[in-house]
Assembly symmetry: C3
């Protein structure tokens, strides 16, 4: 159940996030649909591919496809100011990240993978869709830069992999925690160390 | 038979289209070959992956590989003006789109997939190679923007999925129809709605 | 044995190469890790996918993951001048290319694939990680342009595919040969023909 709820939340959030970026880089309505759907479904597809689950289970999620299609239609009809504001907030990307990270970790944990694979599953489920979205919108992937991002997904994987979350309310709490950490990361500009320096910037 | 003919046409057209873009972004002869081959074969490979057909059937298309390799050599020898003119026309991309869309739809229809999957198969077979081509040439994928593109591929999928085309001549007619629609789209600048607006352009 | 040694060398070299480019485009420490690991492991993963070997064998390389993780940590601690200098040299990319090309060719040869597939396996194992690295760093893939690159990988595939190298010392010699050819290619600016010309540059 928790798994399904998080799946729906993540799908809606990433469909919105993909559609907003598509609008921003001036893709048309079909491009907006393509990017919204890819952002929502590619993370799980890549995870399935790398973990060895048939990638075709993708097609058994008819309800999720319908939800995503309706969501993107609504985004397309949002007043301009709303789109602009949503973009600044980065909120939907954060919701997608946290819900999919928790869900991806639960998934890997349920098939008895080792903790490293659970952390990886959390990271790729949470961030894979966004990486492909950014590549297709010709932008540097958000997850590799600026504010703390992948680390929170891996934290979710670590907590679930250690068996510290087993009840529904714990998974939801973890989802909210990861979401808050991610939102605080970009609101307060929390950054991980980078090695960039003046002499390299010219390249 | 129709399937094979469309496959040959699409392979030649996309090999040309990939090679032309590679030349345009100054890739060398090996880069031109790589991009031509990827454009010609990646759409079908991704479709196989997502539909659950072994991706290795790729290697059973020796004739198509030879055809593509010869095609790219010819493009490399084209007089400069011809390359320049071909690029403006976008014609080979359009031929690849329509032939592969019809072929991908026929393929999915022959294995009894539902209509949504047939439309998807038409879209990914027709557009997947071009998307990967554009990403590797560091350009915004053509299919997401400007003139109507993916919609025509999905239209082919819809018509075949509904069972409205079953005879050889109907498939060829559909191929020509999609091609004309795509060419008219960019010649006359037919656009789908976009949501871009002044206040977003600064981002 | 040779296979394992080349695998370790290639993994270290590509982990360094991915990490250096990530630092250069200002990704943070997690982004640096992600890009280093992807560069080191994606080439083999894509090869496995396209050749039909389960992609999940990826997870049986625990030692290589640990080696890559330690390597990237060291890169992150390199003095700035060293990073800058290493980047100019392109040396680690070259080591990764040659070791993985020889290893990929040996791999394909050991499962009795035809020579074309062996050359392809050498090329994708040697260059796949670097292509994905460049796409994720928003750069035009190095392998498609400028100095001779993919050709050397294919040469390794050809020599192994012809059965001209069978002893350990021959494989190591081939590795050194390919490395020298690649390094000389960019030191002396050896280029394959390109078709770019003035009239196209405006596009």
């Amino acid at each position: 159940m928790v798994w399904d709820v998080l799946n729906v939340i993540g799908t809606i959030a990433f469909a919105i996030s993909g559609a907003i970026i598509a609008i921003e880089v001036k893709y048309d309505i079909i491009g907006t649909y393509a990017l919204g759907l890819i952002t929502a479904f590619a993370g799980g597809a890549v995870r399935n591919l790398l973990i060895g689950i048939p990638i075709t289970v993708l097609w058994q999620q008819t309800e999720l496809f319908i939800i995503a299609i309706i969501t993107i239609a609504i985004v397309f009809l949002f007043p301009e100011k709303v789109v602009h504001r949503l973009k600044e907030l980065n909120l939907f990307d954060a919701i997608g990240l946290s819900s999919f990270a928790v869900q991806g970790a639960m998934y890997a944990h349920s098939v008895d993978l080792p903790i490293i694979a659970i952390m990886f599953s959390a990271a790729i489920t949470g961030a894979g869709g966004g990486i492909i979205r950014d590549v297709l919108a010709q932008q540097k992937p958000l997850v590799f830069q600026k504010e703390v991002y992948l680390l929170w997904a891996m934290l979710a994987g670590f907590i679930i992999g250690m068996g510290w979350a087993t009840e529904s309310y714990q998974f939801y709490t973890l989802f909210v925690l990861i979401l808050i950490l991610r939102v605080m990361s970009y609101q307060f500009g929390w950054c991980l160390p980078t090695r960039t320096s003046k002499s390299l910037q010219g390249n």
